[in-house]
Every structure is written in structure tokens, then in C-alpha cells.
Subunit: 129 residues, 2 copies
């Protein structure tokens, strides 16, 4: 159990607990995807951008910087000729990937159960064809 220095147990439901900020950081679409993109090893900005389809460079930069600030990713610049920047997970970031990977996976595995998926209501579409 968390043994906080503040003398009371950490609780994501408490507004003042730093947990709240961490949850806000991790419980975020782009953070969850970006960390997942680094699971297989370091990646360059362009590669992450390509993997996270639809992310704008501004938002991706902001997301990565925020993750870096909180010690979840490392940013390494190789000042070679075409400039080369690599992002990688810190040990903490790797650990954080586990629950996020489970969440991403749960979504993928259960998406067809959601109402509103055009999928469910139309048996005529070729299933698994």
C-alpha cells in the first residue's frame, strides 16, 4: 500500500493528492498511445507521429514533453546530420505501460460490445471474412 509522507493514504479520489495529477497524465488518449508506441524500444519523433495516426505535431510535442517532465520517457538528441531525436521509456515509464497496455487491449477486445458500433446491428456485413 502506498505510504505517503503526508500521513494519509494516497487516493486518486482526493482532489489534493498528487495522484490526481498522475492519473490526469496517464488517463489521456495521447499519453496512453505514445507510451505504448515506445514499448518495443526507442523511437524517433517522426516514427511516433506516424504510429499515432492523426496526432498533430504540436500535441505530440506537448505530450512527449509532459511525459518527459514526469520521468516516464527520456529524450535523446543525436546532433547528426539530418537531426535525430529518440524517445525511450524510463523504467518508470515501462511499468506504467502495463496498466495502459491492458486498457488499450481491453478496448480492442471489447469494442464490438459497444452500442453505437455500426457493427453489431448489421449482420449483413461480412464478419471475419
Amino acid at each position: 500500500m502506498a505510504t505517503p509522507s503526508c500521513g494519509k493514504p494516497h487516493d486518486v479520489y482526493a482532489a489534493a493528492c498528487p495522484c490526481r495529477d498522475m492519473l490526469d497524465l496517464l488517463a489521456n488518449k495521447w499519453s496512453a498511445l505514445a507510451l505504448g508506441a515506445l514499448e518495443d524500444g526507442p523511437r524517433r519523433f517522426g516514427a511516433i507521429r506516424a504510429k499515432l495516426e492523426g496526432v498533430s505535431p504540436k500535441v505530440l510535442t506537448a505530450t512527449l514533453r509532459r511525459l518527459e517532465e514526469h520521468g516516464l520517457v527520456d529524450r535523446t538528441v543525436y546532433p547528426a546530420v539530418p537531426l535525430h531525436v529518440e524517445y525511450s521509456l524510463t523504467p518508470l515509464g515501462q511499468d506504467a505501460c502495463e496498466p495502459l497496455a491492458l486498457l488499450r487491449r481491453w478496448v480492442v477486445d471489447n469494442i464490438d460490445r459497444f452500442p453505437g458500433s455500426p457493427v453489431l446491428s448489421d449482420p449483413s456485413v461480412s464478419v471475419g471474412a
Copy 2:
């Protein structure tokens, strides 16, 4: 493994996949907290609001409506005198709680590893005393 009816595997990294929307819904601070607040059974609006310290009624309403729309929670109105509204998890919502609970728990368990936690840099505070 997800066997999507669309013929190709679902992928949260694909911009066009409905998974993206689901991830956006679940990978959200207030959604994660609100679903967790309903894990122990139905709760009333006021109770949820009290548990999720710091949430404004506007945002809570929006969050719950969005979860309801996507079939994760049920909203039941008891038109008694003082008006009574209960929110509860659907089976899908209950399932979604598992990965979210793991995430919340990971945050609580690992918060002290984060740099920037005032905690780490000050051994004078009684840790686990």
C-alpha cells in the same frame, strides 16, 4: 483477439477505428474515477459528486451522460420527493472497470516513484512511520 466485422483487426492506433473513440472515452480522468465510484453498486448524483472531489456538476453531468450514451452506465430516475437519480454500471461498464481499477491502483502504488513528488526529496518527513 478482436475479430472485427469490418474485416481488419481493430487498432487503437488507427485514426479511423472506433477503438480510438472508446479509448478517448475511457482514458479520461473523470471517466476513470466515475466508473470506479460505481463499482460498489449504484450511487446517486450527489454521492458521486462527493466522492470525485473537485468535480464540477457540469463536468460530472457531461461525463455521466457520455458514459450512459456508450452503454457503460445506466441512469435511473425515481420521481419521488426529493428527486432521486441513481447511476449504476452496466455489465459492460463493470468489465471496463477492471483495467481502469488497475490503472488507478498503479498510480496510487507508484506515485512515490515520480520525480516532482515532494516526497522523494525529503527524507525528514516520516515515511511509513
